[in-house]
Structures are given as C-alpha cells and as structure tokens.
C-alpha cells in the first residue's frame, strides 16, 4: 500500500508539472496549421529548441516510470482514475501558492473529482 500511494503521488505531481511545461513550450512554438508529415516534423524540431519541452519531457518520463511501477501492482481501471486527484492538487496549489481566486463552480468540480476518487478507492475489487 505504501509503494502504491508513493507511485500514485509521483504520477500526479510529475505528470501535471510535465503537462504544464509542455503546454507552455507549445504556445511558444505557435499554432500548427499544416499537418503534412514534413511540416509536423518541422514543428517538432522547433519544439525541441524550447527549454520548457525538455523539463516537461523529463517530468513526463518520471511520471511514466512511476505509472509502469503502479500498473505492475494494481489494475489500470484503478490507477488511472485515481490520478484525477491532480485536479484537486492543482486547484489547492493555485489557491495557496499563487493566490488564485477559485470559483464555486470549480470547487464543485474538484469536490466531484474527490468523491469519485474516493468511490474508486472504496470500490477496489
């Protein structure tokens, strides 16, 4: 149970941070309008020149290895839904560390996610 929770925490923290870094990098690259393979390749070449993408990829690799570890000891229909708790962690982090004003609607969404994750935990077969 200790390793399961440690791996789930690593998936959530490293995964969310990695996604935000990749999002930031892709906004720097700009909108993709041409989907021909050569054009997509050029976009990827531009993307790998942005520092944020490398940090994002490193964090994503950590999250990926943690996911592999978690999947070796628990069901995929348990592991992946439980990682949705990242929405609650992100909202709490935004409120506490970034001074964001979280709307009632967002708190309701976060509460639904927490209830759902709790039910998934309770419903472990």
């Amino acid at each position: 149970m200790f390793w399961e929770i440690t791996l789930l925490l690593l998936i959530v923290i490293a995964g969310t941070s990695g996604e935000l870094c990749i999002s930031r990098a892709m906004k720097t690259v700009g909108e993709v309008k041409d989907f021909r393979p050569a054009a997509v390749f050029r976009v990827m070449v531009r993307a790998i020149q942005v520092g944020w993408i490398w940090l994002g990829l490193l964090l994503s690799i950590i999250a990926f290895l943690s996911l592999l570890g978690a999947l070796s000891i628990a069901n995929v229909s348990f592991v992946v839904p439980v990682t949705a708790i990242s929405y609650a962690a992100g909202t709490l982090g935004g409120k506490l560390f970034l001074g964001e004003r979280v709307s009632l609607q967002r708190w309701i969404g976060v509460a639904l996610v927490c209830i759902g994750v709790t039910l998934v935990f309770i419903g472990r077969s």
């Binding site: 969404g109 996610v113 209830i115 039910l119 419903g123 077969s125």
Partner: protein, 138 residues
C-alpha cells in the same frame, strides 16, 4: 466562417485521437506490466533486469506507440486550443480507460468503481468549464 469550422473540426479530431490513444496506451501498458508481475528492486541488477523485461515486451511497445500518438495529438491541439478547453474535453478518457480495463484486460470493475469513474468524468468536466483566469492583471 470556413476557417472557424475547420478549426472546430481539427480540434474535435485531435481530441478524439487523445481520448482513444491515451487510454488504449495505458491499458496496453497495464497488460504488459501484469505479465511481468510485481516489481521488487533489492539491488541494481534487479533494475536492469526489469528494464530489460519492460523494453523487450511487444505489448508495452504497442502501449508506448499509442501513448506517443496521444502525446503528438496533445501537443498539436495545444498549439492553438486553450488548455482550459482541451482538458475538460478529454475528461471522457477516464471513462474510456475503465471500458478498456473491463473489455481488454477483463478487470473486475465493481458498480461502485463505475460510479466513481463517472463522477470523476463529471468533476473534471465541471473544473474545465470554469473561467481560465481567476487573478486580475495589473
């Protein structure tokens, strides 16, 4: 008008690819890792042995290919669409992963876990449809 509908069409297509390939990749990784069994690392050679098992598994490579397709779709869609739009739209992935788990991996999913998964989908959807900026710019 035409460019707006084109934008919607390509966004919908890429979100559909994300919702398909992401959960499929996770399901295939789950299948591969279940074949390998629980990981126990007591010494460094154990780690190399596990990595060897992981990277010589065809199912895990298929899973990684599927996740690569997911990542590519995700990066492309984020180049024009808002994160706060893409994120709720992809909330259905949590439902899809439970379906893959049930039908592909034959996992037993209790009714209470199904309700939990659907509640998570609803919660993620609601979070995503809130205003993306809650702080004022000076």
């Amino acid at each position: 008008m035409k460019s707006s509908s084109n934008l919607h069409a390509k966004t919908a297509l890429l979100i559909l690819m994300m919702v398909t390939f992401g959960p499929l990749g996770n399901a295939l990784l789950g299948k591969g890792m279940k074949r390998i069994g629980p990981i126990t690392i007591r010494a460094l050679p154990d780690l190399f042995h596990i990595l060897y098992q992981v990277f010589t598994s065809g199912v895990i490579w298929l899973g990684m290919l599927s996740l690569l397709m997911f990542l590519l779709s995700y990066m492309l869609v984020l180049s024009w669409a808002d994160y706060s739009y893409v994120q709720p739209s992809s909330s259905f992935a949590y439902g899809v992963i439970a379906l893959w788990g049930h039908f592909l991996l034959h996992e037993t999913i209790t009714p209470i876990r199904w309700i939990g998964v659907l509640t998570i989908c609803a919660g993620v959807f609601v979070v995503g449809y809130t205003h993306p900026r809650t702080t004022e710019h000076n």
